[in-house]
Amino acid sequence: MSKNLKNLMVDLNEKEFYVLLRNELKTSDPLDIFNELQKGMTEVGELFEKKEYFLTELIMSGEIFTKAMEIIEPFIKKENLKKKGKIVIGTVHGDLHDIGKNVFISLLRANGYDVEDLGVDVAPEKFLESLNKIQPDFLGLSGLLTLAFEPMKKTIELVKHEYKRNVIIIVGGGHINNEWGEQVGADLYTNNAAKGIKMLNETIRKKKSE
């Protein structure tokens, strides 16, 4: 398996990437290709965290990954695509912004998570309903505006009170700092999508080693 596919992805060299992808599909195991793509997305995330890549590059890499998956997915048996975990995610009640959430979702998918996206302006009860139905490992609450504080807090209070299973709650958004995360009662909190993925991966790793 050539490593160039991963490098082309990290370089965001779309044209050469798709040519090589189609060629690789003729000779390589699609699952190996998928793993290479995941490695590419991980590297893009690391570059974003190091502030060598910025939001536009993160969005472009997500676009390349999504398109690549449309090409290779029909060649992969579903049971071979092992999922790391499930997450229910949405922008909290009152907030209509979704760019941060969408970027996080594309990173989640690239990292092998099953994602249930509830959209924007999601009422606490809707989050609860979805938790009961899907029983995910994680609940993700997103919010860009300062008004997101109260709805995040209310949603977490409702979930902690009414949801009978274990779920790790992560909150994300531009205004989120330690105090915000602690005061709304989240288990994990970040204002950086790539860091958020690391937190989730680390939680999964710890869970497995227990």
Binding site: L55, T56, G94, D121, P151, H175, E179
Partner: protein, 409 residues
């Protein structure tokens, strides 16, 4: 208590005995007085009472009132259409203002349409953007005509009319602000308003996600679009701002402000790499800022979110001492190091700290800002962008009091 001279000295990079404090409010005054959004924004008497109470309880050196209503440029351009507009979320309509809902109204092929020499900005709006905003099929010429004819007529009339900005209409929040400022003896410093042309392409036409991809797939078209659109947008904004200044000066003859400020919102720069910023964002922004300066305004560049990685690029903005930089979550210490000789800095008590922090945390943060960033002048203490509606009143008070308590090193 107003201290305009102190504010003006600091914004013009002069060294001052103490750092001035600027407060910018949206709906905090209404919430602080326990009023609903509707009561605060629609009832003139309540609006005045709430603002007067805030100015009495939290007296800062300068005040920037603000509102999503602003100068309603988009409405005057006919862009406030049923589908493409500010929207309210399903809850809290009593409490919160509108949020802008970003939608794609421009397809990637439309770059070529707009970039044809014979197509001007109005034709682009009426033949592409407005029909899409109304959900009209672009092949339905009859319907497009029905929509675009009144739009062109209105836009042309507005552009030519003397009252492009109808500030005599005392129902606008803008006019209510002027009344409150007059009553409390504050000047209206910001007379002009602008937005970076790249941001308009992002917000109104392509959306941030599509535009980010365009930067890789059709970079030369994005660049050409920003330049061509920027010319039109600059012309419209300068016209609106000149008229607003004239009206404000008529309404507040006791205040001779020379030059007044022009707030230029730069909301999407944070998403770009330094190279992208230099290539796609800066040329049309610099054009806008330079035309404002030529028209005797001082641009206040409001770079939202974290732009620390762009600070070296900001040295290419007009200067020295021609603009000011309102800092949101950018590292203000680095901004001082890199831009300290180039432009004055305003900022940056974090909004999240004003909401969830303690008074002690606010006091500590402000002390550091005043002592470090205030050193050598050219600094105004202010919240990062504005006092959030949900801020704890005791935190706002601590922020305002800190300028009396601490001195620049």
């Amino acid at each position: 208590m107003v201290n305009f001279e102190l504010f003006k000295d600091a914004i013009e990079m002069k060294e001052t005995d103490r750092v001035p404090c600027l407060s910018t409010y949206m709906h905090f005054p209404g919430i602080y007085s326990g009023k609903t959004l509707a009561e605060f924004t629609q009832d003139k008497k309540i609006f005045r009472e709430c603002f007067n109470k805030v100015l009495n309880d939290f007296p800062s050196d300068m005040l920037f009132p603000t509102s999503h209503e602003g100068l309603r440029i988009h409405e005057r351009l006919g862009l406030n259409t049923p589908d493409h507009s500010a929207k309210q979320s399903t809850i809290e309509q009593e409490k919160y203002d509108f949020q802008f809902e970003e939608r794609k109204t421009m397809e990637v092929e439309d770059y070529d349409f707009f970039l044809q020499p014979k197509v001007n900005a109005l034709q682009f709006l009426t033949k592409r953007i407005i029909p899409r905003s109304y959900g009209i099929d672009l092949t339905d010429r009859k319907k497009i005509k029905q929509i675009s004819a009144p739009f062109i007529e209105r836009a042309m009339k507005n552009m030519q009319s003397q009252d492009f900005i109808d500030l005599e209409d005392d129902d606008t929040l803008y006019f209510k602000y002027i009344e409150v400022l007059k009553e409390n003896n504050y000047p209206m410093y910001v007379n002009g308003i602008g937005i970076a042309p790249f941001d308009l392409l992002s917000f109104l036409f392509r959306g941030l996600e599509n535009l980010s991809i365009d930067l890789f797939r059709v970079p030369e078209k994005v660049d050409a679009f920003c330049k061509k659109w920027g010319e039109f947008q600059t012309m419209m904004l300068i016209k609106a701002s000149n008229q607003a200044r004239e009206m404000i000066q008529k309404a507040m003859p006791d205040w001779k402000i020379d030059p007044p400020g022009a707030a230029i919102f730069c909301e999407r720069a944070f998403s770009l790499s330094p190279k992208q910023f230099q290539e796609f964002y800066l040329p049309s922004l610099n054009h806008l800022a330079e035309i404002f300066i030529k028209n005797n305004f001082r641009p206040i560049l409001i770079f939202e979110q974290e732009c620390t990685h762009l600070l070296e690029e900001f040295k290419r903005l007009p200067g020295p001492n021609k603009c000011s930089f309102l800092v949101d979550t950018t590292d203000i210490k680095k901004a001082k190091q890199i831009l300290g000789d180039h432009m004055s800095l305003i900022g940056n008590v974090p909004q999240n700290l004003l909401i969830v922090g303690t008074s002690n945390q606010i006091d500590k943060y402000c002390k550091e800002l005043i002592e470090d960033i205030g050193s050598g002048g050219g600094f105004i203490l202010s919240p990062a962008l504005l006092v959030p509606d949900e801020a704890k009143p005791e935190n706002v008070k601590t922020m305002i009091n800190s300028v009396q308590k601490y001195k620049p090193k």
